[in-house]
């Protein structure tokens, strides 16, 4: 069985400040790692994913996440946030041999002017 822990339920920041959303996972088998974003009254959108290869993955809108196997972490970072980044962010894992996504409880990122 696997589990995901998002260490911060709410992260308030000012516009143009850097941000880090923390995610740790636990699994007895190999996993793939994901970050999803959910805007109010919408479904989930894939932000970025780690399947293999380089441990640093990037999204098209400036987010990046680094897979750290020894620390079982997959923290999400952005060097300068915008008001439009305000949303709920979910970290998730997927067993390499399974079908399901296991999600953390989410981190609400609020970017203030």
């Amino acid at each position: 069985a696997q589990s995901v822990t998002q260490l911060d339920s709410q992260v308030p920041v000012f516009e143009e400040a850097p941000v880090e959303l923390r995610c740790n996972y636990s699994s007895s088998v190999s996993v793939y790692l994901f970050w999803y974003v959910q805007y109010p009254n919408q479904g989930l959108q894939l932000l970025l994913k780690y399947l293999s290869g380089s441990t640093l993955v990037e999204s098209i809108n400036g987010f990046e996440a680094e897979f750290n196997k020894s620390q079982t972490s997959f923290h999400l970072r952005k060097p300068s946030v915008h008001i439009s980044d305000t949303a709920e962010y979910f970290c998730a894992v997927h067993e390499t041999s399974g079908s399901r996504l296991t999600f953390g409880e989410g981190t609400q990122l609020t970017v203030n002017p």
Partner: protein
């Protein structure tokens, strides 16, 4: 190209009733997964359907059942509704390519309120 669609958008039921939620997968997708997202929590996997069969199931009681049709659309049925079933129900579709990972695309969800 239509993405994943779900109906209805919102639904209000009373305890003990039964409900059916519907999902149409993204064009070209053949696999449908259902998730329950309670308020303030992350989505939890209910089950996945492929080739009209339930392929994998999460930790949900038998009151939760599903179906997949030949056109790959799917229904989620919940019997004997409890107050705790109030949640956003998300449908996700993917294409089974016998790969280790098939990306899941999510619909906007159905908000179920049980009174």
């Amino acid at each position: 190209d239509a993405g994943v669609t779900q109906s209805p958008t919102h639904l209000i039921k009373t305890r003990g009733q039964q409900v059916t939620l519907r999902c149409s997968p993204k064009s070209g997708h053949d696999t449908v997964s259902w998730y329950q997202q309670a308020l303030g929590q992350g989505p939890q996997f209910i089950f996945q359907y492929y080739e009209e069969e339930e392929r994998q199931r999460g930790n949900f009681p038998d009151r939760f059942s599903g179906h997949q049709f030949p056109n790959y659309s799917s229904e989620l049925n919940v019997n004997a509704l409890l107050l705790g079933d109030s949640a956003l129900y998300l449908c996700a579709s993917s294409l089974d390519r016998l790969a280790a990972y098939n990306e899941q695309f999510f619909g906007p969800g159905t908000r179920l309120t049980v009174l």
